[in-house]
Amino acid sequence: MITAQDVGGVHIKYLYHCRRQLWLYLRGIRPESLNASVQLGEAVHDTSYNRNSPVDLGAARLDFLDGRHWVHEVKSSARPTEADEAQGRHYCHRLRNLGIDVKGAVLHYPKTRRIFRYPYTPEGAELAEADIAEVLTVASSSASPDRLSNSRCRGCSFTDYCWTE
């Protein structure tokens, strides 16, 4: 259904957040347009860093690459997560494969005015490869992964789908 080349930042993010979410997303369940928090995410995007135009990498999309080769990403959440880090790593990995000497990822959290730097390392490259392989495994599974516990679903834009009776 998808190949390693098609794996993008959203897939990585969902892989870390909830495998079921990734599985559903790959099957066209896209509840985002109905969810207020996603619209907010887009608004943050538009206002905070409009001087820099996003770099389009096919499936991967990042906010901008600065002159010293750090990938920058703007997050609408308050706190960094493992998923955010994995996503940054994924973008670095993609750029490296394109021959760009990326130094690492910088994640911006305008809500709490915090900035995190994650240098790109050989271990990071291995993890990024493993994540891509894992996305493909979830993609090819014929059965849907189980739901997370109700409390961990809070705030997920797929709750309408997963929890409606």
């Binding site: 066209g28 369940i29 896209r30 509840p31 347009s33 849907s144 709750t159 009776e165």
Partner: protein, 290 residues
Amino acid sequence: MTDVRDIIACAETDINTAVIALLNRHRINVHFLSYYGDYAGSLLTSATSTSGETVLAQAQLAKNTAASLEIAHSIVDSCAFNVRRVIDRKLLTRPYSVLQNTLRTAESAAHMMGAEGTFRRSAWEVLDTKLPDWLQLGGRSRRPPKNAGNAFISYVNGITYARVLTALRLTPLHTGIAFLHSSIERQRHSLVLDISEMFKPLFAERLLLRMVSRNQLKEHHFDRDANQAMLSDPGRKLVVQATRDEFAFTIAHRSLGRPVAYDELLYLDALALTRRCLEGTPYKPFRIWW
């Protein structure tokens, strides 16, 4: 602007290319109703939610006779449940249990629709006993509606159809593959007909009874002649407004634990059917629970 999902055009409308581009950019569908409130057609934004795998699962389910009859059964049952709930629980007890018995042994969707028709006829008769003479239906008639009551029902059903179409377009389901109505029928969105079944009584019959009891409907709200009727301009305004308010009305949702608008119920039902197709989870079509 971002949370407008559809526009229902109830009067003559001109649309040009720039408007189409704007609507498409914001993913807003426009649905057109005829004078009678029949669904006339839509200007749909390009489908971004489709998914080959989901449509295949849906098609497989529709071709699986046992599975699709089960879905058709639950749709007809829920529809009748809601009709009874809205019109008269007591007087429709018998027709409802007759219907349920027929459904248990029905061997085709057409058979089920026939049984539903019989139940519906009893329900229309009971409904008439609660309406003033000039609003009585005397049986259902469409295109054109024979009288004021039918004109009202047609109009609200037309709006409901349009809203269900919008809801379904937000899911990856194919609107042409249905379980109760025959698929790809006369180029209609047959799945919209399926999902509309449960919601028509929630809006049309319920609103009619309420507006009658509040004495809101007047003869000048309709243009009538010997054998047909339609809403007059003031009538259409009134009915469109009342229906819109109804769609925006919110209730506490049981399993989601938050308030949802009636409008969202259509979408949630479409999601439940998506889950049935994709994951095989039992589909329990919408029933009025309050």
